[in-house]
């Protein structure tokens, strides 16, 4: 498979990020129904089709520019967007191995990994990297293993440690986070970091999901989809950079919503890691503005209905209270109120 990369696009300032029609078509559209409510939409992470669910960890035409945007964000605020507790080093090596092996298997034309005992040779043609290092020895890499490999990976990554019958955030890289702080969440347990999510505690869903994840086995990853909205194709929407992006929320009107409002789709394939017994929680983000969505009439119709009927607590939590109505109004032109096409949208 050959990908036409867009190496020069930007996720800030002049926002030259754009999707090709092929890239829109391969995105994992997250709405199976006309109404959205949190659910345990976990399924075995097995390869399906030829799009975003094919590889263990998906990459697309934005790979090079997204890695560059990550480097910019990391450099701007050192110590803010990559953090790891000291005892997570083993899990970091597990993650490095999993990403390297997965990329090399799924995209042999771009990545290769050769192992000679613990002496490894990694090449990444897309970013011009050719490194030899000793697996298990952090001194042989320019960064800690997790930062090293996730600087070369699309999406955010969190390592969770299993302890006392729950999961704790032990390490993470998050340069494209939807409105929270990685440093703040580090060390939190499952029920703490999910505490602010409305409407899930009451249903018992948090307890059930935790039990399920604690039974997660090596070699049997599972995946789920989540989503949010952002104004402009901006990846770094962390709590720390809020002054930079929050004002954009006031610029949305029913006329410009198609261009300005982006659906952030998060593909989350969770894996148990073998040596550390940690669980990796990746958040691979796809950014499609409403005009991109509208190239698929069934998607646009469904998204109109989802946003229009969405529970206000979820609107507030996901942070688009100010411009929900404008987005709904823009999308309404694609909804004739009839139902037959919508059934195909999932």
């Amino acid at each position: 498979m050959t990908i036409q990369f867009r190496p020069d696009e930007t996720y800030r300032d002049d926002y030259t990020y754009a999707n090709s029609p092929e890239c829109i078509a391969r995105a994992p559209f997250p709405f199976p129904d006309d109404e959205y409510m949190y659910s345990m939409n976990l399924e075995p992470h097995v390869s399906v089709g030829d799009a975003a669910l094919k590889a263990v960890f998906d990459i697309d035409e934005h790979y090079i520019s997204e890695c560059r945007d990550r480097a910019i964000t990391l450099e701007k605020d050192p110590g803010m967007h990559y953090v790891s507790a000291p005892h997570m080093m083993e899990a970091q090596w597990d993650l490095l191995e999993l990403i390297m092996e997965s990329y090399a298997n799924d995209y042999p034309e771009y990545f290769s990994l050769e192992k000679d005992g613990s002496r490894w040779h990694w090449t990444n043609k897309l970013l011009g990297i050719d490194d030899r290092f000793t697996f298990g020895d952090p001194a042989t890499l320019p960064y800690e293993p997790m930062e090293y490999i996730t600087r070369q990976a699309q999406g955010d990554w969190v390592l969770q440690e299993e302890r006392d019958g729950t999961l704790y955030w032990g390490a993470g890289i998050a340069t494209q986070r939807a409105d929270y702080s990685l440093r703040f969440n580090l060390g939190m347990a499952w029920h703490e970091f999910h505490g602010p999510v409305p409407l899930v505690k009451e249903t018992g869903m948090l307890d059930r999901a935790l039990k399920f994840l604690l039974r997660l086995r090596c070699g049997h990853p599972v995946r789920r989809l989540n989503w949010s909205l952002t104004v402009n194709p901006r990846l770094d929407v962390s709590a720390e950079s809020l002054p930079d992006w929050a004002p954009d929320r006031t610029t949305v009107t029913a006329e410009n919503a198609g261009k300005l409002v982006y659906l952030r789709i998060e593909l989350q394939p969770l894996h148990r890691l073998p040596r550390s017994n940690a669980i990796v929680f990746p958040i691979r983000t796809y950014l499609l503005n409403l005009e991109d969505i509208a190239t698929n009439p069934a998607w646009a119709k469904r998204m109109h209905r989802v946003l229009k009927s969405l529970n206000q607590d979820l609107v507030d939590y996901k942070g688009f209270t100010r411009y929900r109505d404008a987005a709904v109004e823009w999308l309404s032109q694609f909804d004739d109120g009839r139902d037959e096409e919508v059934a195909k949208a999932g």
Partner: protein, 322 residues
């Protein structure tokens, strides 16, 4: 979580008797490649075929997590058990190929402990073996206190003593060397973690001793084998919509049996968590063995619903709305 394609084929490279009751099996991959890496304290489920089905027994991995060229397990022959360990002792030979599930860790080491204290009895030493290999590499201090019945049961402990020296203490009942758990946990520094694997009385004794010393439960760990996937006794189920009656074998889930017979039941997680396969029970003569996390306690007690991906039945008749 029961996925029928989740097994590994391994060849039995070596079998050796280490005590009158325990045999050690060395397992290698059938294609010469390394087996999947694992963490100290992990176990594998071995599928043991026998005349009328398959036993699924979990055994701790006792080899080093840093050498995945082979796995080692120790099988203690249990005369009055279900028969799986007898089958392993009698019918499995060097060179045979077995199916196992990938390693699972239900007894992981604490990454925060300053001192690891292990209490073990007999074959309960096996998960500790792989944990010690991990700790030695990490350089964290540990002590092992292992109780055995007599000299001929001491070989695993003596091997560990040769490997780790004074950190391993052996107590032999036949010469009246008593393991005093309360003394082991007394006056230990904050940051010590206790791990127990052995007979139920030993586990309870260790928990009680540690609590009596003011330890929190977060610092007390014990091995408890949870059933992996859906396995149990065979039963049959009728799918009301097609009228088909399906036999569910001991190592299959209801969902897998239905799929094998060409029926589609909607599913997502296949682990009893997501609610997708929830199905109404239309007729039941017997009881449902609920093993899911989805249904409420009231739902489970009412027996009007079942999760076909993990739950089973012990009944003469079961009809579900599929």
């Amino acid at each position: 979580m029961s996925l029928s394609n989740g097994t590994l084929n391994v060849r039995v490279a070596r079998i050796e008797a280490v005590t009158p009751e325990i045999k050690r099996f060395t397992l290698v991959s059938t294609d010469g490649a390394h087996l999947p890496p694992f963490s100290g304290g992990s176990n594998v489920v071995v599928l043991i075929p026998h005349a009328s089905g398959t036993y699924r027994n979990a055994y701790s991995l006792m080899s080093s997590p840093y050498d995945s060229s082979a796995y080692q397990i120790a099988v203690r022959r249990v005369e009055d058990g279900r028969g799986g360990s007898r089958q392993m002792h009698q019918a499995v030979n060097e060179g045979d190929v077995l199916e196992i599930l990938r390693p699972v860790n239900l007894f992981p080491l604490s990454k925060h402990a300053r001192l690891h204290l292990f209490i073990a009895g007999g074959v309960g030493i096996t998960p500790v073996c792989s944990q010690l290999a991990e700790l030695r590499l990490r350089g964290t201090p540990f002590e092992v206190h292992l109780a055995v019945r007599g000299a001929e049961h001491a070989r695993l402990g003596e091997e560990l003593q040769r490997e780790y020296g004074d950190a391993v203490r052996l107590y032999r009942n036949d010469i009246d060397q008593r393991l005093d758990i309360a003394a082991v946990v007394a006056d230990r520094p904050l940051g010590s973690h206790l791990y127990v694997c052995g007979p139920e009385s030993m586990i309870q004794g260790a928990i009680d001793s540690a609590r009596a010393q003011g330890w929190t439960d977060s610092h007390i760990h014990y091995e408890r084998f949870l059933e992996q996937g859906s396995a149990g006794e065979a039963f049959s189920v009728t799918l009301a919509r097609s009228g088909a009656t399906i036999e569910v074998s001991p190592d299959q889930s209801l969902l897998e049996a239905a799929e094998a017979a060409g029926h589609e039941i909607p599913y997502l997680c296949r682990g009893g968590a997501c609610g997708m396969c929830e199905t109404d029970v239309l007729e039941l003569d017997g009881e449902i063995l609920h093993t899911d996390d989805w249904l409420s306690d009231e739902d489970k007690a009412a027996n009007k619903k079942i999760m076909p991906c993990v739950s089973r039945a012990k009944c003469s008749r079961l009809v579900i709305d599929c």
